[in-house]
Amino acid sequence: MVRIRIHGILKEECGVEVIDIEGTYLNEIMSKLPKEVKNVLMKYSKYLIVLVNGRRVYDLESIQLLPNDYVDLMIPVGGG
């Protein structure tokens, strides 16, 4: 299981904070997200930041995940 954590406005609009999903590749896992969550992510797709185990990733297709990995989804913040 890979744990997806959703932050800030994405969390507020998705109405969910944590989702556990089975899968090997990041894009596969993202495709298994609930429809309402995907709709919100689509809305903010231009700004979406994806972290895997705290490191930012850009190419979702090539990222292979292990069980107990976690993925954080947020829009840009910074400066603290």
Binding site: G54, P76, V77, G79
Partner: protein, 644 residues
């Protein structure tokens, strides 16, 4: 030549010892050389004090400085600076605050106000357009900042703006803040204690003049560009949906996600309960959202607790730094307790960051058996104890028991107690801010080289925080992007910290907010070169190369101020927690900060000698700081570049 546009062209001097004031002209040559704000204050402070002056003596001036953009309707330009020698660190002291006070100083007719001497009785300084009054304030002494502000606004009128100290400043707590219009704070470096030492309870200001603009049509074009950037530009939506909606607390869960959320006196950078302190959690307590003068981001929130133990708490913030210092740093996950302690600090006039780090020092020493229950007056300083934290805050502000030692700041406290040096987290005497150099390597360099100590506002870089590749490519080149954006790599961090420090030296002199310049990174040197010429009529400000030179000059002048105080390279060290203790948990697990390569690279870009820590004489000459070099030569042998 006198200044006509963007500046009032006047500096107000007030001598509290002699109860007199006078006005001097701000010369155009000075504005061209140091811009205003922090840069101009650096020049004034350098010339007014000698090295070694006691920060709490009448000889230490207090400088209130605005910049050319202050009050000139440029969004994100409502801030102003407070500068003095810091009683906490004994070196350069500087803090900035937002709100409406800064523009009002300009409208009252002054670019800068310099307070000299010391009053024999408590007074307030009242500036009402051209009129200046030293107002007897014995009755205000002892009041908290809210009551003081209420009293002064009731006496003078609600259209007056008030910056004041609370009991902490009066008691000369070395990390006392100055509170502006109830909720804005000059938090860092203890400048509230400088006001307290002068028996200056408050500064009150009202103005009705205007800031003249050199080329209104061109200036409006720049303002329209700013409007576009804030409403439709590429950063508009993220800025509104994070900073605007949640304010700085939007950072709590994001920083936790990258393993950089200070937790348990910075023992680690990840906390499983951080979501209890998140921006959306705080939203439940928000009763209003506001902005600084002429700002479109509107990141300022006022919170209220309506039920329970902390019922009735009502204050601005807490901001990210305060949430961390008083929350995760102490393992306190009750957001209502954090809101309450933030209010307490604001009412007393205490810097929340330093306060939190002093408390976590006590908590860790208590855990390790280095401070006893008896020494704490029967208090059990257990991690997560709201009661212990609140009691200690009260003891500090009243200088009761061990509070009298803690009121000196964490460096002095550990020295006086002779224990727990390794848990006293500071750089140059300034308690560390809410970052962790193990999870964000450039922070280590930022803290080490900052003239005011462990500082998140003089050169904190954000391109490497969450990895903004486009900005990194634009500023540093495509070939460097991977390394620049890697927060766990030391490579190129000297380059980006130097660049950010220069940018902020300028930003703090104009003066603009860090939001818009630090994050989102909307405005850079090229933007400033467009903003300043139509505002000020000073064509030289339109040359990016010249702006960079001015910025370097300001950075070097402040560093030389510290060198004159005898504080240089030997002070550029980090607490061992960050260099020797690998991050124990979270996404940055196993990391330590290796400062040395970053410091070497930074020195190279600065034109400073790595061995001695001194600037090369040629560097100071290039920057037009010969007068500084001449004074430093009384104390040091300045190195010269070896040619050939």
């Amino acid at each position: 030549m006198s200044l006509k546009w963007g500046y009032t062209g006047k500096i107000l001097y007030v001598d509290l010892s002699k109860s007199k004031y006078w006005v001097e002209e701000l010369k155009e040559s000075l504005a061209k050389t140091y811009v205003g704000g922090s840069g101009l204050a650096a020049y004034i402070l350098w010339n007014l004090v000698d090295g070694g002056v006691d920060p709490l003596s009448p000889e230490n001036p207090l400088i209130i400085a605005t910049g050319p953009a202050t009050g000139a309707l440029a969004p994100s330009a409502g801030r102003f600076a407070l500068v003095s020698k810091s009683p906490l660190t004994n070196i350069w002291g500087e803090s900035h605050a937002g709100g409406f006070f800064g523009p009002e100083v300009k409208y009252a007719g002054y670019d800068v106000v310099v307070v000299l001497g010391k009053s024999s009785t408590p007074v307030s300084l009242v500036i009402d357009d051209g009129n200046v009054e030293i107002y007897r304030s014995t009755g205000l002494w002892g009041l908290n900042t809210r009551d003081t502000t209420n009293e002064l606004r009731s006496r003078f009128g609600k259209d007056y703006h008030v910056m004041c100290i609370g009991p902490a400043g009066e008691e000369l707590v070395r990390f006392a803040s100055v509170i502006v219009d109830y909720y804005r704070a000059f938090g860092r470096t203890g400048l509230g204690a400088v006001m307290g030492s002068k028996r200056l309870k408050a500064v009150v200001v009202r103005g009705s003049k205007s800031v003249e603009v050199y080329d209104p049509d061109k200036y409006l074009e720049v303002l329209e560009d700013i409007l576009w950037r804030n409403s439709e530009g590429p950063w508009a939506l993220p800025a509104q949906m994070s900073l605007g909606r949640y304010g700085t607390p939007s950072l709590v869960t994001a920083m936790n996600a990258i393993g950089r959320l200070p937790t348990k006196n910075h023992w680690t950078g990840f906390w499983g309960r951080a979501d209890k302190l998140s921006g959306d959690e705080l939203l439940k307590y928000r009763v209003s959202r506001g902005s600084c003068f002429s700002c479109m981001i509107m990141c300022k929130h006022v919170t209220k607790v309506s039920n329970g133990r902390y019922e009735g708490t009502f204050s601005g913030g807490p901001e990210y730094e305060s949430i961390v210092a008083l929350g995760s740093n102490l393992l306190i996950d009750n957001i209502e307790a954090v809101i309450y302690m933030n209010q307490l600090c604001n009412l007393y006039g205490l810097d929340t960051i330093s306060t939190g780090k002093v408390l976590s020092y006590v908590f860790e020493c208590y855990e390790k058996g280095l401070i006893s229950k008896e020494e704490l007056g029967g208090l059990e300083a257990l991690w997560g104890s709201e009661e212990a934290a609140i009691t200690l805050i009260n003891m500090i502000v009243r200088r009761e028991g061990i509070g009298n030692i803690l009121a000196e700041g964490v460096r002095r406290a550990s020295e006086v107690l002779g224990r727990g040096y390794e848990y006293a987290l500071h750089v140059k005497g300034l308690e560390v801010s809410a970052q962790d150099p193990r999870g964000h390597k450039s922070v280590g360099l930022t803290w080490a080289i900052s003239v005011r100590g462990a500082d998140h506002l003089r050169s904190l870089t954000t391109v490497d925080e969450l990895g903004y590749r486009d900005i990194a490519a634009e500023r540093f080149g495509v070939d460097k992007v991977d390394d620049v954006c890697d927060r766990l790599s030391e490579k190129y961090k000297g380059l980006i910290v130097k660049d950010q420090e220069d940018l902020f030296a300028l930003v703090d002199s104009i003066i603009m907010c860090k939001y818009g310049t630090m994050w989102p990174p909307m405005y850079y040197f090229d933007f400033i070169a467009k903003l300043l010429p139509p505002l000020t009529g000073i064509k030289e400000f339109g040359d990016v190369k010249n702006l960079r030179l001015i910025a370097e000059r300001i950075v070097n002048l402040k560093r030389c101020f510290n060198l004159r105080e005898g504080v240089g390279k030997e002070s550029e060290v980090l607490p061992k927690r960050f260099t020797e203790e690998p991050m124990p948990t979270g996404p940055s697990k196993g990391q330590v900060c290796n400062l040395e390569p970053m410091l070497r690279e930074y020195y190279m870009y600065r034109g400073w000698d790595y061995e001695s820590g001194l600037p090369y004489e040629e560097t100071l000459e290039r920057l037009g700081l010969d007068y500084v070099a001449n004074e430093l030569k009384k104390k040091y042998v300045l190195p010269r570049l070896k040619h050939g």
